[in-house]
Symmetry: D2
Amino acid sequence: MEKIPTEESLKAQKSILDRLNRIEGQIRGIKSMIEKGTYCDDVINQIEASRSALGAVELILMESHLKNCITDQLKAGNDEEIESLFKMVKKLMR
Amino acid sequence: MEKIPTEESLKAQKSILDRLNRIEGQIRGIKSMIEKGTYCDDVINQIEASRSALGAVELILMESHLKNCITDQLKAGNDEEIESLFKMVKKLMR
Amino acid sequence: MEKIPTEESLKAQKSILDRLNRIEGQIRGIKSMIEKGTYCDDVINQIEASRSALGAVELILMESHLKNCITDQLKAGNDEEIESLFKMVKKLMR
Amino acid sequence: MEKIPTEESLKAQKSILDRLNRIEGQIRGIKSMIEKGTYCDDVINQIEASRSALGAVELILMESHLKNCITDQLKAGNDEEIESLFKMVKKLMR
């Protein structure tokens, strides 16, 4: 069953897409820095900024994943969902 | 209601305490390195090893937290538990 | 003074650009997952994969930064370079 | 040649030892939580706090390592020191 998107969920989706567009722009910026042979200090800082920005998107999705998907699945008795959550958290803790 | 510990849970507890004892020993070792003025490269590597060892304990507890506490709480309708899980994951992702 | 690129350095540059192109493709893939409303588990795993891939590029650049830029700058007496390296390492350790 | 410790370096050493003593106390606290069967949420948060505290000590040592050891070694022509720094940074970035 597909859920009908609410106005709020559409706004959240738009905000995530905006962030991802900015990150895509950052990656392109890093490519052109590498092509021009920019001093590595700046490139590393720029990569670190993109990783942070991706981390922020991940956090938004994680909040929604926990509060919606995981909660619903566990209540529906799909306990194996917690195993996939644990694998995900394990990767984050690496 | 207190749960009667199973043989398995006592073994798990013992294994975690063994790990924590080793970590406590590592911290004492780091203190004596600092007191002796040991070359910083070795001290940093030793601290990094203790942090990894703590991370391994954290992962064991996290697995049990997710598979027992979180699953039980959500099924009992305590949805606010997911908020505290999100805060925890947020810290790990920092 | 601009350094004349060696064959080896051109190969390294090409390999980094290839990696960044793949990452750019991954980001576009994540955007289309979000647009389609893909189940959040998969999206989070995909973001985590992109962050790892960026981390791998960062490591390649870091190695070159340390072995070339930092070494040269310190030998030339530019000790302030170590301050900017410390700031960078601090961000990585967050 | 052993360096004669300055008043400043003794103060720094004392501050690091104080931090390590607090961390050792935290580890003992975690052990007694585990022995008492404390709710895992609190234990995980406490472990995370100890890891952060160790990270803070690591950062202090890293600053001194970069500004003293690494700078001196590179100036003395011991270029292989940068290889061990890279290995250390690699571990931190994991």
